[in-house]
């Protein structure tokens, strides 16, 4: 039996280990780190209940030291913030001990009403963002999932010049082992570039569509309980898409796609939020090219689980592959609940991080 002194020593040692070194999966220490995209706090920022600094402070308070951000949402005078603001940004990074990890970039392809950007303009758009990413200290720039490879290749010299890695998002419904990823890998192989890679988004691994999205569509009158149940059951029973669509229409379903997909699309793996058919293990095939991860979530339940995405299947694959980057929590449920419920993004992200701490064996 140990003495009280010995017991306290063990306790202290244990506490120290938990504070500074996440224990690993089995014998391997996971090198993954926790972060957050400030996009998660979009509603609080939008309503001005949180400032950018408040978002960073909140991230630090939950140990999410890796920061991702949409400069188009949160940087004043985008794309040319004042030096004074940029200095403040770096002061916040020092004050809260956070690190700028990923710059969420957008191609303004349809800037003009009557035409798409020319190739030169498209590359110019990317260079604009590389410059600002460098000013703000970001090392990874997240690009839109389907950014044309032609543009990416032309932008590579600039990525090198500004010392950033450009990583396109792999988001549902893109197949991890499909043509797009294959083409990207071929380009990386051919150019030998170290400045192009991927940001997998966990929407890729959805097991069941977010119920909050279904409920919102019901409240909006584009879906009924009956149709929703029918679609979910028919998908589970293997009824083909067209047949399900026919039958749902007979039951009164008339949803119009406004660009984000219908509930039918979601259930049948064609949408951005719905059932996916990717296997988390497929990430192993592209592991050296994963520069960052969007730890997507829509609803953290009272049991501290994500309703749609099986994190307990996904995180071990990243650990197995030796991923040593950040898991950036990306809370996106607010758009489905804000019409009827009060949003508390901070609470949702906190729940997300407790789940991740458990899965990372930090607690």
């Amino acid at each position: 039996m140990m003495t009280r002194k010995e017991f306290l020593k063990t306790l202290a040692a244990g506490a120290t280990a938990a504070a500074y070194a996440p224990k690993g999966f089995g014998a391997t220490a996971s090198k993954m780190k926790r972060g957050v995209t400030l996009y998660s706090y979009q509603e609080e920022y939008y309503t001005r209940t949180m400032t950018v600094e408040d978002c960073i402070a909140e991230a630090a308070d939950i140990g999410a030291y890796g920061i991702e951000m949409l400069p188009e949402a949160m940087v004043p005078d985008f794309p040319n913030p004042s030096d004074r603001w940029v200095d403040r940004w770096h002061d916040w990074m020092d004050k809260y001990r956070t690190t700028p990890v990923c710059y969420t970039q957008f191609q303004e392809t349809k800037l003009y009403k009557d035409r798409e950007l020319t190739d030169a303009e498209a590359v110019g758009n990317m260079v604009r963002d590389f410059k600002l990413a460098k000013r703000l200290g970001f090392k990874v720039v997240r690009g839109i999932a389907w950014t044309p490879l032609l543009h990416i290749e032309k932008a590579l010299p600039y990525a090198e010049e500004y010392n950033v890695k450009f990583a396109v998002e792999i988001h549902s419904p893109i197949p991890l082992l499909g043509e797009r990823i294959q083409q990207c890998l071929e380009m990386i192989e051919r150019t030998k570039t170290k400045h192009f890679g991927f940001v997998p988004d966990f929407s890729l691994f959805v097991k069941r569509p977010p119920r909050i999205e279904r409920d919102r569509k019901i409240r909006d009158g584009v879906l009924t309980d009956k149709v929703a149940q029918y679609l979910e059951q028919s998908y589970a029973a293997g009824v083909p898409f067209e047949k399900a669509k026919e039958e749902a229409t007979r039951l009164g379903y008339k949803e119009v796609d406004n660009g984000y997909g219908t509930y039918l699309d979601e259930v049948y793996n064609r949408g951005f939020f719905g059932t996916a058919r990717n296997d988390p293990k497929d990430m192993l095939k592209i592991m050296p090219h994963i520069f960052h991860v969007h730890a997507k979530f829509w609803e953290m339940t009272d049991d501290l689980e994500e309703y749609s995405i099986p994190y307990e299947e996904v995180l071990p694959v990243l650990a197995e592959g030796g991923y040593d980057g950040y898991l950036a929590s990306e809370y996106e449920g607010q758009r489905f609940t804000q019409d009827a419920f009060e949003t508390d993004s901070c609470e949702q992200v906190r729940r997300h991080h407790v789940m991740m701490r458990r899965l990372l064996h930090e607690i």
């Binding site: 920022y45 939008y46 949402a73 191609q107």
Partner: protein
């Protein structure tokens, strides 16, 4: 998204020309998760107390710059920041009477990185006008 925040109470008032009400002003916010170039605004369909206003009679204004709504497609160098109210000025001789008004706005944006995508958001709000 953000439909419930689209129509602002603050800023709702008549606009005067030569001391007579020539129209009214309504502030609106973006129903999207980032700021956009003003050229990506497609339309605002404003209905007040059942009266719908033609885009020809609407001006869109942000950051001190104004454009006829029908011309916003040209404003590629002006940004509408995320969360910042933009001002719609609607021509209506006589303006609106003081009291509670039923406002409906349909905000259509061109989501420039999504293929074939328009964001169409509808908001309804009762707002009181005083002067």
């Amino acid at each position: 998204m953000f439909e419930k925040y689209m129509i602002c109470t603050r800023g709702f008032k008549n606009v005067y020309e030569d001391d007579r009400p020539a129209g009214f002003q309504l502030k609106v916010r973006i129903t999207y998760y980032r700021g956009i170039p003003v050229s990506c605004v497609e339309s605002f369909d404003v209905t007040v107390d059942g009266e719908t206003f033609s885009p020809d009679n609407v001006t869109f204004s942000i950051g001190g710059k104004s454009f006829p709504l029908t011309q916003v497609g040209k404003a590629v160098d002006v940004r509408w920041p995320f969360g910042d109210p933009a001002t719609l000025i609607i021509k209506k001789p006589g303006g609106l009477k003081p009291g509670i008004h039923d406002i409906q706005v349909v905000e259509t944006l061109r989501i420039s990185y999504m293929p074939n995508s328009r964001s169409v958001a509808t908001a309804k709000k009762k707002v009181t006008l005083v002067i």
